[in-house]
């Protein structure tokens, strides 16, 4: 057992994905025309190309996600061992969450969770 069967599944999945990717290039007709290859704009002509830039709000969400996700990852070992750590583990967990919640409330009051 162990981790080897998982690598087997991953390999098979990648092979399947590549197989379909190659398959699509051979099947189907190919009759390109400039209109067909233009970006979809609900039937009107595109006036300017889309800028590949986006609101900073998304970046903020991403950063918050990293903070909370790392918190969860560092939280799992404590959750697993809680049976044996008992009250010590509980207090440690509560202190950890308290600090986290102070940050959470700060971010909330700063308006990071309000989307207009």
């Amino acid at each position: 057992m162990g981790i080897l069967p998982i690598f087997v599944l991953v390999t098979l999945a990648v092979l399947f994905g590549l197989f379909v990717m190659v398959l699509t290039t051979f099947l189907g007709p190919k009759k390109p025309s400039p209109e067909k290859l233009a970006p979809y704009e609900c039937g009107i002509q595109e006036i300017e190309a889309p800028k590949r830039r986006f609101p900073v709000k998304y970046l903020l969400t991403g950063m918050l996600f990293i903070v909370f996700d790392i918190e969860i990852v560092s939280f799992y070992p404590l959750a697993i061992l809680l049976h044996s750590l008992k009250v010590f583990g509980l207090i440690e967990l509560l202190v950890f969450l308290l600090i986290l919640m102070i940050g959470y409330i700060y971010v909330w009051r700063k308006g990071a969770f309000t989307w207009e």
């Binding site: 098979l12 990648v14 994905g17 290859l37 970006p39 979809y40 986006f54 996600f65």
Partner: protein, 411 residues
């Protein structure tokens, strides 16, 4: 002659092939079942022309998709555009590697032919890690399409998925406290009536709050209705799917449905005892059937939700994730940790969870709709006819409620 069947790699290859094949078939038939069920709920017939009850519809769809013209738009970044759907589907398939599909064939003796691909001791971490890669497929695809709808759809999707992943992870940690292990097989064994680790309850009994949070976050994770903002047709044509056609489009659909199956499988494993059903799982083979029935129930739930609920607005979606689900998940963790660490019985945890779920439902109801018969303004209450149900006024401008003047309201 059949000695090669005792080889671990041969077993892994065959089992993996079976799982991938089963997932793809399940995807194909989920599309049909979804269309039929939604049609029934809306008083239509749904696809019933191709074969009896339309059972060959998925085959027809697949053939049609394969022979569609593939368009690579001029503004796209070709390599990423072509690779992104593949990333999506590979990640979706990989997440299933640690899900225990059934009990060991003979007693408690593990063998290489057990119906699970890899029982690693960090199973949950593998699923969380791999499923958070799913966002790459969508964001890269939307970004590489060179279309503003695609870009907006993929950004929305990314923000939504990362927002709900935090709540999802926290909701799972309550169950992990009860189980005391990260291995998926270990979690199922912790819910058995017998055995050295069996606690005799399904963790839904101890974790109703965690389950509710997990299900909401799970639906949002796989971008399904009512959280299907990334592909909101009315606003974004088809979101990140706009520029995709043919088999590449199918790959995205495939990824979405397989993710649904994975979310259902995790829900039944962590909260509903996986392949166990009050001792019935001891009969060889029955455990797989039990597991499939549980997963099918959750898949039906997904379809039911889609047919029932309207799409949620984007700012409310983010607010729900960050301002409601996340604090609730933390509360659930605190309660569960207290109960587990002090060695209290499971029903205290369950009752507390149920009380919080009921309280939040009441709170949300009282805040979303006023059931009074009039609008209260500073000058007094304006009566309204009984048929009018007022939505709550949302704060406009500097936060003051703006109520209409008396003479503007026609009764």
């Amino acid at each position: 002659m059949l000695d090669f069947l005792n080889n671990a790699i041969v077993a892994a290859v065959i089992k993996s092939a079976i799982v991938i094949f089963a997932l793809l078939t399940a995807f194909a038939y989920m599309t049909l079942i979804e269309r039929r069920v939604v049609a029934k709920m809306q008083g239509r017939l749904g696809p019933n022309r191709v074969g009896p009850f339309g059972i060959f519809q998925p085959v027809a769809d697949a053939v049609k998709m394969a022979f569609k013209e593939q368009i690579i738009p001029t503004q796209s970044k070709v390599a990423i555009y072509v690779l992104a759907p593949v990333i999506s589907v590979v990640v979706a398939l990989c997440a299933f590697a640690v899900v225990p599909i059934g009990n060991s064939w003979i007693g408690d003796k593990p063998s290489i032919w057990d119906p699970i691909i890899g029982d690693i001791n960090v199973g949950i971490l593998w699923i969380l890690g791999v499923s958070s890669l799913a966002v790459y497929g969508i964001v890269l695809g939307g970004w590489a399409s060179g279309n503003r709808y695609s870009l907006l759809g993929s950004l929305r999707s990314a923000a939504q998925m990362v927002s709900y992943e935090t709540s999802l992870g926290l909701a799972l940690s309550g169950t992990l406290m009860w189980a005391g292990t990260l291995s998926m097989v270990g979690i199922v064994k912790a819910q058995l009536l017998y055995g050295s680790t069996g606690q005799g309850i399904w963790f839904i009994a101890a974790q109703p709050l965690g389950f509710v949070i997990y299900m909401i976050a799970g639906v949002a994770e796989v971008n399904r209705a009512p959280f299907d903002l990334p592909e909101a047709e009315q606003e974004l044509t088809a979101g990140y799917l706009t520029e995709y056609s043919g088999l590449r489009w199918s790959l995205y659909q495939m990824a979405e449905y397989i993710n649904m199956i994975t979310v259902s499988a995790i829900a039944s494993t962590l909260f509903f005892g996986g392949w166990s059903f009050f001792g019935l799982e001891r009969i060889p083979g029955v455990s797989i059937l039990i597991f499939l029935v549980k997963v099918a129930f959750f898949l039906f739930l997904f379809i039911w939700l889609r047919a029932t609920l309207p799409r949620i607005r984007y700012d409310r979606l983010m607010r729900l994730g960050w301002q409601l689900l996340l604090p609730l998940a933390v509360l659930n963790v605190v309660i569960t940790a207290t109960v587990v660490a002090l060695g209290w019985p499971w029903w205290i945890n369950g009752l507390a969870g149920l009380a919080i779920v009921a309280g939040v439902l009441l709170l949300v109801r009282s805040r979303t709709r006023e059931i009074q018969s009039g609008i209260s303004t500073r000058e007094g209450t304006i009566p309204m006819p009984a048929s009018v149900r007022l939505a709550r006024f949302e704060p406009v401008g500097d936060g003051q409620l703006i109520a209409p003047k008396k003479q503007d309201i026609k009764v």
